[in-house]
Symmetry: D3
């Protein structure tokens, strides 16, 4: 049976910086990864475009969509969906929640990913984090659209926000993305409107690799990694061996 | 190469209630599990014995040691060591720290287990938790007894304290111990002086199994488990797949 | 003057598992206890019913209502009200808030009870917790329905969630419910659709009784209790003796 | 260029007790300070008025407005705006958010002030705190009303709530308001309907001055201050010298 | 049987500011209250004395002792003991711990009081808080001085530190000390060397009374109190009625 | 009067990675900066040296001292002192505390810097953090070495640990060190034994500069910075303007 994963991204670029490596790596391992972009980030994350003359909301959205689709392609995303809910503020209607629930049930992901619980710089992010938990609960309810296959209990990983310490975000797992770094780097470069962040997120990936090595062995010889990503789990794991 | 684990127990019964299942399960899976009992709990965890006429400190220690050894046998512990440091208060001298460091280096554990970070009921417990981290750092230092093999970066799991919420303890992993429950139950019954806790810790194991099932699938059909244990990790994991 | 209490339960079974003992005990002590069930839990907490052929939302609700009424009877609940707001997601309209405010003012409770502040498994629960605080503030406002008797400052107790540690729930008071356990057990058994939870919550009650004893005296002879419940207070107490 | 500041006050008296000194001091230093009162606090903070015979909502609002305007005058407020959104519950519509965003962009404040993040006594307060962060993010979005000057990254200070410890509020900066105390005291006295709070907030100001002195030098001779206010910052500062 | 309480004060004046009202009130209610002053605060809390010419450590201690004894008299303290351990840093030897354990067992207090868990301004305070918990655990151990009556499980209240928010101190109970305020005020005035704190702690008592009233009823008519003290509990309470 | 600062570094390289920029910048601005290295990090932070044949403790210390002195020179440190207390574990005797107190009083720093409060990887770091607070309190005590000038109330900044999120470290101030980056880079390169960290800490400095820009203005045009450092304050600031 094909393994699957689901990424819930507030704006259309978030999945690239924050979990592009996880997407590409799991795709390489046979997962079908679905990405939901709740908005294009057309108002709040497209400053460069808006500084151009004659810009309109539709043009920004179209441009952002192309960038996101290119990035998704670079990362071997199985399916990318745009909910076009608007941003700043991103408002999640009941209808949009139902739609996200449908995606969760259709995908039946092994794990999901979304934003940090807290973000005083970007309230869209923290609301999306909470709505994702809400939709997960709905998707588990037997009485919601009876007959559909209900969702199990997939882990929800919070991917890395900008300025982690201000978001009370604490990673509890590091993933070695060295093997797929080229794909993540290509996806990052697809984000042409946010070139100022390319170098920043390469630094992040390099330094998380240092953390990977340190936590896998430290001075006695941890596993060398060149690029990594960190995630914070919401739920406990269930295992047969520690 | 044989896999190994190391348990650091403040008093001689702690390893039974708090991680007896993990010990037996990993032993069954080929791990050599070493248990260090820093004290016998002779003063503070032996009320029943002290209520007997003519009791002395040496008799209590001897009795506690026999119980612990019987429990260790029931759990297939590879090696159990008694540091006899005294309890209430348990004082960890520099010499005792060096001894624990030696054990860590000799065992080279895949993971270690000890007490919760905070315990306002039992300060021995929380001090031991901190000393274990301290000894782990010393054991990693190349300049400590140069020539010895230094310790890697094993995970430290904090096992379940009594009254978890008061200790700020939050499990992030549940282990299914159904297959070895008989061994844990036998070890529990070896603790003859604390019979009032037997039923309590069976309830704990049953309810943690409920949590195991819930987190492995919930209403859609999580994996049934009859007995489980929970642990809190100190360090992030390093993985190749989420 | 009759003493009163008010329970705000997201779904129609929550008041049974989480504070059935407190209800029965205070009823036995002369309190009139009112229970508000904001929803029947018809979609998200009735998996067993939905697995039956030919099930409809109305049948589930009707079944859940009967169970809740039977449980209320077993616990000597004075009044049980069903707001029928729907669940997963439970949405609290302004009208529903006004209705809950009316109940608060009519009941004038000595204390109120509701869900934990945080619950990543069940967002209905955590929203209800916050709405209860919101309605308490409205009920205290002199300008809301001027002429009605305003609410005082009743304590709000957060009752025990499932998987307490994941909800950041920390009890600061334990209540001995030994004398009314038979009533709680009967109420639990009235929850026919959730039989898998009966044993779980008996274990909880037994282990909370251990905590009761430990905190009332410990090894020197705390008060024996066979069943107890724990609660977390939101507000400070005001006293004349500690 | 004139320096500016913006205060977002849930009810019309909050700005007086909580940051009246900061307003008057910065006004004296050349700042133009704008105050937005989202509601008059007509329902929940006007008990004294509602106890009078024949009182109506309009009369209460009118009275509260006069008091607030008088206080604003005493504090040399540059502009005070009343959004009249209602209170208990205070509901922030999308339209109201847009209006607050417009104010933020028009004022271009050096810093903003609002309520604490958490307040279980007064949910209006904590919602306003969150909405202020949300509006700040919208005001920074280039695509929101393109052509308007976007907001920079002003600090948001959370002013002092009632019962600070219950609100998880922790001041990280103390401001000496000794020189403008007369103005704050006059503004406080303009709040005729809440005379029971006058003395309370004088005590607060005196004791915060003790904290000012202690943190500016302590026993070795901190700077004497007679009145002070404390604030909690949301964002890190950016400096050229510590 | 006489009820008793035990106060553990790092320096000889702490019990006055922080729980003088609780002492006097419980004494008036028939409690025998014992105060242990671990040091005189001779080095770190006697700046005024040290600024006098010809001052010596012995003179400071003697002066501090007289002040503390006078305050104790004013508060109807049953017994005050000075351990004279030195301050800044206050070092608690094993011998001193044993002595405090002896006092705990002799007094058999209904409740104990000590400092906040954290205090970055005054590390003596936070160490004493931890040592008190440690000694409580030793005093409960049946094997410590077998034959002595072991300690039960008395509540430990953390009394109010200076700058509460910086100490992560959160009161969960307010005590009305109006009836004994004259005694506390007399005790405060006995602290001649710290006159700069008299007014500060009267303000504290007045404002805590506001909190008492608010939490006992608020706008609907809480109980009026003129002076109060706040405390933070370490352990859960055990009750028969909420 | 010359302004001064004091850095308390557990091991001899910590001051370089964690606050080398702050040192060089303040030196450039006329501060005399004193660095205290409590140990050389000879056992636990010198893996590379210990892997060489014939290495001895004295050789390691000598090598580490030279590196630290070279780095200090590069950063224009005014005075660097080595306490040689040993590391892993670093033990702070009463005598060493007195020595550090003497330094604090002699330097009379405007601010001090030290390690994060918590560090489960490196307990030396977290103990040093606490001891620094303890010594600060002693240095403020008038009765400690009467006649010496007592310490005021300098801020204590916690500099950036490795793996910030695991240490519960949250920066509240960012310092632009672009102008002195060359000096910090030279100091970093003086740490020849830890070359694997050079690139890591350049990435940190670059990314903190991104945070500097974001917090000084964000998308509307924050101040460009190429290198920055972040710090967490222990105490509130006292100001005349926000």
């Amino acid at each position: 049976m094909t393994k699957t994963a689901l990424i819930v991204s507030a704006h259309s670029a978030d999945f690239v910086w924050r979990c592009g490596g996880a997407i590409a790596l799991h795709a390489a391992n046979g997962y079908e990864v679905t990405v939901v972009c709740l908005s294009y980030g057309e108002r709040g994350e497209s400053a460069k475009l808006w500084k151009q003359a004659g810009m309109t909301l539709d043009k920004v959205k179209a441009g952002r969509r192309v960038e996101a689709e290119n990035a998704a392609k670079a990362l071997d995303v199985h399916d990318i969906q745009f909910f076009d809910l608007g941003d700043y503020p991103l408002e999640m209607t009941r209808e949009a929640k139902d739609r996200l629930v449908d995606v969760m049930r259709a995908v039946q992901p092994s794990f999901m990913m979304t934003h940090s619980k807290y973000d005083p710089y970007n309230t869209d992010h923290m609301y999306v984090s909470q709505w994702t938990l809400e939709c997960r609960a709905i998707a588990q309810a037997w009485g919601h659209n009876p007959g559909q296959k209900v969702l199990g209990a997939p882990q929800v990983y919070l991917f890395e926000p900008h300025q982690t310490e201000q978001m009370d975000w604490k990673p509890d797992v590091f993933l070695d993305i060295t093997d797929v770094w080229d794909k993540k780097w290509a996806a990052i470069q697809a984000m042409e409107g946010q070139e100022h962040l390319w170098h920043y997120y390469r630094n992040v990936a390099e330094n998380r690799a240092n953390h990977f090595t340190r936590n896998s062995g430290g001075q006695s010889g941890g596993r060398p990694a060149k690029y990594a990503e960190g995630f914070q789990s919401i739920y406990p794991r269930t295992v047969d061996e520690l």
